[in-house]
């Protein structure tokens, strides 16, 4: 019972801690790109561009809708709430103009996918980063 209570308190506190987290924008170490700015990131994740000035083409990967990481990324980088983002994609998708990025369950899955492919770009909590990936930008 006591453990249950601690778990509940921990779960209730989770979004608060997550909302303060620093996000890291990550690619595979071999990807031919060393930095990215917020505008490029925004255009990439809103499917308005896929290629960088140096010719590199990257496919963005997302975290699950409703996850703290996604809510934070949507607000800080895309400038939209989760519901505004859902509306944006409903307009793009159902007019045949493109699909939202593929979603993965959590930081672990994003780390694993990005580490294995030099075509992908993703975001995770900066605390989840290890040397399997390269950090292009940190967003406080």
């Amino acid at each position: 019972m006591k453990n249950m209570l601690i778990l509940l308190i921990a779960l209730a506190g989770l979004p608060v801690f997550a909302a303060r987290a620093e996000l890291a924008i990550i690619v595979a170490p071999s990807t031919a790109l060393d930095s990215i700015n917020r505008e490029q990131l925004q255009r990439l994740y809103l499917n308005r561009a896929s290629r960088f000035p140096n010719g590199v083409r990257l496919i963005p990967v997302d975290q699950k809708t409703g996850s703290p990481a996604q809510a934070e990324f949507a607000e800080k980088v895309l400038g939209k709430s989760a519901t505004e983002l859902a509306k944006y994609w409903s307009r793009r998708m159902f007019s045949g103009k493109g699909h939202p990025p593929r979603q993965y369950r959590d930081d672990d899955e994003v780390m694993q996918q990005v580490a294995e492919s030099e075509d992908l770009i993703g975001y995770v909590d900066a605390a989840s980063v290890d040397d399997r990936v390269k950090v292009l930008l940190q967003i406080p």
Binding site: A49, S50, A82, T83, E84, A86, S90, R91, M93, F94
Partner: protein, 368 residues
């Protein structure tokens, strides 16, 4: 094709068993659904017979399913099925649109097939209620073009001008066997009783048009032009010229939402009896407060016929007060009250001339 079908079945089975969503990498299913009820305070029905003085679900209720697949790095297919109750009491399911897209370059796509074309700001996704603030886009403007998709091809050319995205979209094709609501004024000549709701087939050939849009983070400006020639053999209408202009703007800036559009259509000869020359506009202003989006719309439909045109131009003003409420992500609840008033002795968008009519509507929109 068969292989894709089996892949789709396999994907459905996997999904049903709670398997990984991406078991089949390149086929995606998405859907949208609206359940909407309407009721007016008048014994005079709307001209399509769907809004009356008893609760009715036919005007806004519909369901759609979209299937899309990447064939290879440059080619993809997308198609939508749509079921509605709008034209009669049976729920009709149609193949609304579907095309093959070929990416010629980073900035140029070519699409071929049956294409939903952008007469207005939300035409591309007009069936997806979740995507816009109203329960239905203002009828004074959106009912003016009964053709929503063409069999043909278009080109999507995109360019970046500073912080603005430019889209230039020329299209060309035909739209055969389109349904048009027969105007009440024409019914007696066809031996039909006033108050009937009749749809008749017409063909639009040599349809050519262009859509140009400028957009940035918070606003879109667009303009479009199309021309075609319509024929309806049942009425002896043959190759009459039609031109259609439209322009509009939308904005979503610091919780302020605004839409405004204008159109003008010009139709020659006998076809004018079925589609009189009209022009119209609307303006919507809304302000988002957390999960609520209250909004207000003024709309006007105007007669643009000259004295010797055979058709009867319709005139109507309306004011709509509405609210959209977000039910979490992917669902919205909407309620609207509209006061519509036919003008200049015409019946506006109703069955017959009437005093002002109040229409109450509620709807739930979801995407899945």
């Amino acid at each position: 094709m068969n292989k894709r079908f089996y892949q789709a079945v396999a994907a459905a089975v996997l999904l049903a068993h709670g398997g990984c969503l991406f078991a089949i990498e390149n086929i995606e299913f998405n859907g949208f659904l609206t359940v909407g009820a309407t009721r007016s305070n008048s014994s005079v029905d709307s001209q399509n017979g769907n809004i009356k003085d008893s609760i009715n679900f036919d005007q806004d209720t519909r369901v759609g399913v979209q299937v899309s697949a990447d064939i290879n790095a440059r080619m993809s297919v997308t198609a939508q099925l749509l079921g509605t109750n709008r034209e009669d009491d049976n729920f009709d399911t149609t193949f609304d649109w579907g095309y093959i897209r070929y990416a010629l370059s980073e900035n140029v796509d070519i699409r071929g097939g049956k294409i939903k074309f952008p007469t207005f700001l939300v035409s591309d996704y007009i069936e997806v209620g979740y995507a816009y603030p109203w329960i239905r886009p203002p009828a004074e403007v959106y009912s003016s073009n009964p053709i929503t998709a063409i069999s043909g091809a278009d080109v999507l050319y995109r360019a970046r001008l500073g912080s603005t995205d430019l889209l230039v979209q020329p299209y060309f094709g035909t739209a055969n066997d389109q349904d048009a609501l027969v105007p009440q004024e024409v019914l007696p000549a066809l031996g039909l009783a006033p108050g009937s709701v009749e749809y008749e087939n017409f063909d639009a050939k040599d349809m050519a048009g262009i859509n140009i849009a400028l957009s940035n983070d918070f606003a879109t400006l667009r303009a479009g032009y199309l021309q075609t020639r319509v024929s309806a053999s049942a009425f002896g209408v043959k190759n009459e010229d039609v031109t259609f202009w439209s322009a509009g703007a939308s904005m979503d800036w610091h919780n302020i939402i605004a839409y405004t559009e204008y159109f003008q259509r010009d139709i020659d000869g006998l076809a004018n009896a079925f589609f009189p020359n009209q022009k119209g506009w609307y303006a919507t202003l809304g302000y988002r407060i957390d999960r609520f989006l209250p909004h207000l719309t003024f709309a006007q439909l105007l007669d643009d016929n000259s004295n010797n045109d055979p058709g009867t131009g319709l005139e109507q003003d309306s004011v709509t007060l509405g609210v959209r409420y977000e039910l979490g992500t992917g669902a919205a609840l909407k309620a609207e009250v509209q006061r519509a008033e036919p003008k200049s002795g015409t019946r506006g968008l109703f069955m017959e001339p009437t005093d002002d009519v109040t229409i109450y509507s509620v709807a739930v929109d979801v995407i899945f």
